[in-house]
């Protein structure tokens, strides 16, 4: 008897009892579906993080406000803007490893062009921002020196904003848009960097201060919300970081022993750590899903043992008609394998559906890779072989004479 015949006999037997066959494979279905879903969500999260790491740019340090003391009371981190444009200038001029640096102020506002409007992040910054992040233009130009110093009414759009405000054929360059009733001329459109990054509009820092954020109480004329700085080479990150820290402590006149009023971070490194954490959690979830696969395997073994008992006479007949022990073993092993493979296939389909639903409903990025599907199917084949072997072996060892005598 060949493997193919084994599968034919198995399919025939399983078709006769579809409900029972389905219930038997349910554990495998659930196990495989969970593995596929967990993998899809996990690798989606990783992809998203990788995209963010890439979008930040290589060798970037980010300086944000830290804790401040006011009348002896420690205020929450970031509650006061402690960085200034002077700090940006000093970092650029006094630290040789820093290639570019820029300060930013950001908020959200509605941008309007003719009939269309779109809610987005307005980032007030300088051309240095694009240098730090290696962010090229798709068309147009960056801000001019005069626009940066003189609060020019110009804007550079992220690709998402450009797409939302302008029809596909329309050239945004030179068009007038409005933000908080202020008319601005579009001078540039940026390259795509990733869905989370492209939803932004940049204006000169001076423009943001004068026209949009000037009235906010916690902002003095010189403040910026955060600074990004590009370090020339990978190996210089730690050194540059230490130099920035001592420079800023000195500029902010922080006495020895007192906490910094700023934080210097390496966002890429932080995200890499986060990526490791995601991987760990995903592995843990896969391990849990595998338990369901194990339970599924035991359920298959259980049903197969019952089936062998029920079909003892059939086994006796097959043996009398020339079936070898290994033919009987193959027949029942094929049955377990078909159950597992079918369960695995349904599970893969279910897992893909589930992760697509999660992606739509929760807005998460999910990614289904062939590797995860292959792994899940390999798991189910292994389950079939492991848990099908004992019942199949038991069936093959039945004495044909005794088997023929059973009712």
């Amino acid at each position: 008897m060949t493997m193919l015949q084994g599968f034919q006999i198995a399919l025939h037997a399983l078709r006769l009892n579809p409900l029972r066959s389905f219930l038997t494979m349910l554990g495998i279905v659930i196990g495989v579906a969970s593995i596929v879903t967990v993998f899809a969500i996990g690798s989606g999260a990783q992809l998203r993080l990788q995209e963010q790491i890439r979008s930040i740019g290589a060798n970037v340090l980010m300086i944000t406000p830290g804790a401040v003391y006011q009348g002896g009371v420690r205020l929450k981190d970031g509650s006061k803007l402690t960085m200034t444009e002077g700090d940006v200038q000093a970092i650029l001029e006094q630290i040789p490893e820093i290639q570019a640096a820029a300060g930013s102020l950001a908020g959200t506002a509605q941008v309007i062009h003719e009939g269309k409007n779109w809610n987005t992040t307005i980032n007030g910054t300088t051309t240095g921002h694009f240098m730090v992040r290696d962010w090229q233009l798709a068309s147009g130009r960056y801000f001019s020196g005069a626009e940066e110093s003189g609060a020019g009414k110009v804007v550079i759009l992220g690709s998402t904003v450009a797409r939302e405000l302008f029809a596909p054929g329309d050239d945004p360059i030179g068009a007038q848009i409005r933000i908080m009733k202020v008319p601005l001329e579009v001078v540039g459109v940026l390259d795509r960097k990733g869905p989370a990054q492209d939803d932004v509009a940049f204006v000169p820092l001076s423009t943001a201060k004068l026209r949009f954020l000037g009235s906010a109480s916690n902002i003095n004329r010189d403040s910026v919300a955060y600074i990004i700085a590009k370090v020339a080479a990978d190996g210089q990150m730690a050194g540059a970081r230490a130099e920035i820290e001592s420079l800023l402590r000195q500029r902010h006149r922080i006495p020895a022993g007192q906490e910094d009023d700023f934080k210097v971070q390496d966002p890429a490194a932080a995200m890499e750590a986060q990526q490791g954490a995601i991987r760990t959690v995903a592995l843990l979830l896969v391990a849990i899903a595998s338990v369901s696969l194990l339970v599924g395997g035991i359920s298959i073994m259980n049903v197969m043992i019952v089936s062998v008992t029920e079909r003892t006479r059939e086994i006796g007949i097959r043996r009398a008609l020339g079936g070898r022990m290994r033919d009987i073993r193959l027949q029942f092993l094929c049955e377990a394998l078909v159950l597992c493979l079918l369960g695995g296939a349904i599970g893969v389909a279910g897992g893909i559906t589930l992760s697509m639903t999660v992606a739509r409903m929760a807005g998460w990025v999910t990614s289904i890779d062939g590797e995860a599907i292959g792994l899940a199917l390999a798991f189910s084949i292994a389950t079939g072989l492991i848990f099908g072997f004992y019942p199949a072996h038991k069936a093959s060892r039945l004495s044909p004479i005794e088997a023929l005598k059973t009712e």
Partner: protein, 240 residues
């Protein structure tokens, strides 16, 4: 010249041991069966007929003595080899038909060929011919539960014949049938024998036994008589 017997039993005994109690079901039995014979095996219940049949059919091995099939001692063959011989050289017919309930007639008939490595198309073609030979081709796609006892036994006989076996072994093939249907089955066996098919048939019915040329009688596991009826002898001589 004496032809090599198809089957030969030499001082065959079979003892079952359960919980230290030994039951000798067949004791020191010797006889030969030649190609083309039809043999009735008779004896009271428990006299060892089925035990004997199982050994001839390679389902069981003697505790002592030897069974030879075409000169080969079956005890010296591997389990797999004995299984293959069952598929190719032995055709079983049982009292309770033993058709697979979940397969239709033609699939049941084709079953032994699955274990002979025959392709599906050829299996079905040969099963059709076999069903034709027992007059059951018109019921090929019916399931056992849709057939009467006599019809099921015909299908079972078609299955026993499909691999053109050396010998057909029937254990009370008419035991579950009424006398008229039983007579039809018996006529079928007689017709098969006339085409040269070797048949060994266990029966309780003396009327059936008289229609076989040769009758072997068992009692308490021992062979008590082995008679060949002279007037039914075939024209060519039978090796004895």
């Amino acid at each position: 010249m004496t032809a090599l017997p198809l089957i030969s039993l030499r001082s065959v005994s079979r003892t079952y041991r359960t919980d230290g109690i030994a039951v000798t079901a067949v004791r020191n039995v010797s006889f030969d069966i030649a190609q083309g014979e039809i043999v009735a095996v008779m004896g009271p219940s428990g006299s060892g007929k089925s035990t004997l049949m199982n050994m001839i059919g390679l389902l069981d091995l003697p505790s002592e003595g030897a069974v030879h099939l075409e000169g080969a001692n079956v005890a010296e063959l591997s389990e797999d080899r004995r299984s293959s011989l069952r598929a190719r050289s032995i055709g079983f017919v049982f009292q309770s038909y033993n058709l697979l309930a979940r397969h239709n007639a033609i699939e049941n008939v084709a079953l032994p060929l699955v274990y002979c490595g025959v392709s599906r198309a050829e299996r079905l073609a040969r099963a059709e011919r076999s069903l034709q030979a027992v007059g059951m081709l018109h019921r090929a796609h019916h399931f056992p539960r849709q057939l009467s006892g006599g019809e099921q036994q015909r299908v079972a006989i078609a299955r026993a014949l499909i691999a053109s076996p050396l010998i057909v072994l029937a254990d009370e093939p008419t035991g579950a049938l009424d006398s008229r249907t039983g007579a039809e089955i018996l006529a079928l066996f007689a017709a098969l024998n006339r085409t040269g098919q070797t048949i060994v048939m266990i029966t309780h019915d003396p009327g059936i036994a008289t229609q076989c040329r040769r009758t072997i009688r068992l009692h308490d596991g021992e062979l008590v008589s082995d008679e060949t009826v002279a007037e039914l002898l075939p024209r060519r001589s039978v090796a004895s």
